[in-house]
């Protein structure tokens, strides 16, 4: 078993789910509960020393359950090794703990991931829109977001017949009313 995987399996047996390694790079799947302890261990332990958070994103495997998977990439600049950590997430509970307190670099990555996939990062200090605009509904990188659905901020003009395939896009011009109006009794 590769060294980092063995280390995690030995010290965090309750978190460990799965692992594989390819070309010397290791991947570990872990459970969500208690993830921050593992990340603190990865950052501070002298055998790990992962001082650099390279990337953080999510993957949407739509028909599968658990639907989402968080993917973290770490690099250790003193020890020259890398590690990939995956956390499967159910759609009903797609929330993880924010790692922004450990690696400041995770700040904008988590904001982007929150916007695009709708995954809640608990404990993030500034979870607000980074790429999307105010009034945008839905999470555009989810697999069930219609790829032709646009939410324009200015009304779209009618154009001359330069498309012979007709109108393919759909528009959301106004947000749908959230509360249905009740008839006066």
């Amino acid at each position: 078993m590769p060294p980092l995987t063995a280390l995690i399996k030995k010290d965090f047996p309750k978190l460990y789910l799965d692992s594989h390694a390819q070309h010397g790079d290791e991947t570990v799947s872990i459970k969500r509960a208690g993830m921050l302890e593992l990340f603190l261990f990865l950052k501070d332990d002298p055998r790990c020393k992962f001082d650099m958070m390279i990337d953080l994103t999510a993957v949407d495997y739509l028909p599968r359950s658990p639907r989402f998977e968080m993917v973290y990439h770490f690099k250790s600049s003193p020890l020259h090794h890398r590690l990939r950590v995956k956390i499967p997430l159910e759609e009903s509970a797609c929330q993880v703990d924010s790692i922004e307190p450990l690696w400041v670099a995770a700040d904008w990555y988590e904001r982007e991931c929150w916007e695009m996939y709708g995954i809640d990062f608990q404990g993030h200090p500034n979870l607000k829109f980074l790429l999307r605009y105010e009034g945008f509904q839905g999470h555009p990188l989810r697999k069930d977001y219609d790829k032709l659905l646009m939410q324009p901020l200015v009304p779209m003009r009618p154009v001359a017949e330069r498309h012979d395939y007709g109108e393919v896009f759909q528009y959301v011009q106004e947000p749908p009313p959230s509360v249905p109006e009740q008839e006066p009794s």
Binding site: R132, Y133, P140, Y145, K147, L148, L149, M150, Q151, P152, L153, V154, M156, R157, P158, V159, F169
Partner: protein, 177 residues
């Protein structure tokens, strides 16, 4: 011996709007609205090698109030669309718009939640320049085509009547309010 200069009796006849259109078409001050990689090609056009200034579209103006020609160069997304529309509205009439490259003309290869499928969904456009990015020759051809449009129109795009034929009826009514 000696040249005979035109005497005081000589005169040239022309229509007033032809003279005005002629002067307009050779003094196109552009506002470069550059958002993406097409900007590199735009710089090539206005650099010394291709020298767009030869065609009378001389100086880039970075204030829309001073510009006649809006160059939309590159991808425009929905977050940017209100800004582009505002820049266009701030330009003084007469004004013209060129969609530079595939993304500005049609959205290019983007077909997703974020990209405007052609800036003619937001603004009236006079000339579309194809290419990803367009060659500088194509851009110069686009400028020449725009100059032809300006010269051939009876009174320019908005001209003396104040009616911009590229506007839709609703936009016209809105501008009259």
């Amino acid at each position: 011996m000696g040249l005979k200069f035109p005497s005081a009796e000589s005169f040239v006849t022309s229509r007033l709007d032809e003279v005005i259109n002629w002067s307009r078409k050779f003094s196109l001050f552009q506002y470069p609205f550059v958002t993406a990689c097409c900007g590199m090609e735009f710089m090539a056009v206005y650099g010394p090698h291709y020298d767009g200034a030869r065609f009378g579209s001389e100086i880039p103006r970075f204030s829309p109030r001073q510009a006649d020609l809006l160059f939309v160069v590159g991808t425009v997304n929905h977050k940017m669309a209100p800004i582009l529309k505002r820049v266009y509205e701030q330009m003084a009439e007469p004004k013209w718009v060129i969609a530079f490259g595939a993304c500005a003309s049609s959205g290019g290869f983007y077909q997703n939640y974020s990209t405007v499928p052609g800036i003619d969904r937001i603004l009236p456009v006079d000339v579309f320049i194809a290419g990803c990015p367009p060659r500088p020759e194509a851009v110069l051809d686009g400028i020449i085509q725009l100059q032809k449009q300006i010269q051939d129109k009876d009174s320019g795009p908005s001209g003396f009547s104040g009616i911009n034929p590229r506007q839709t009826k609703e936009e016209l009514l809105l501008s009259r309010e």
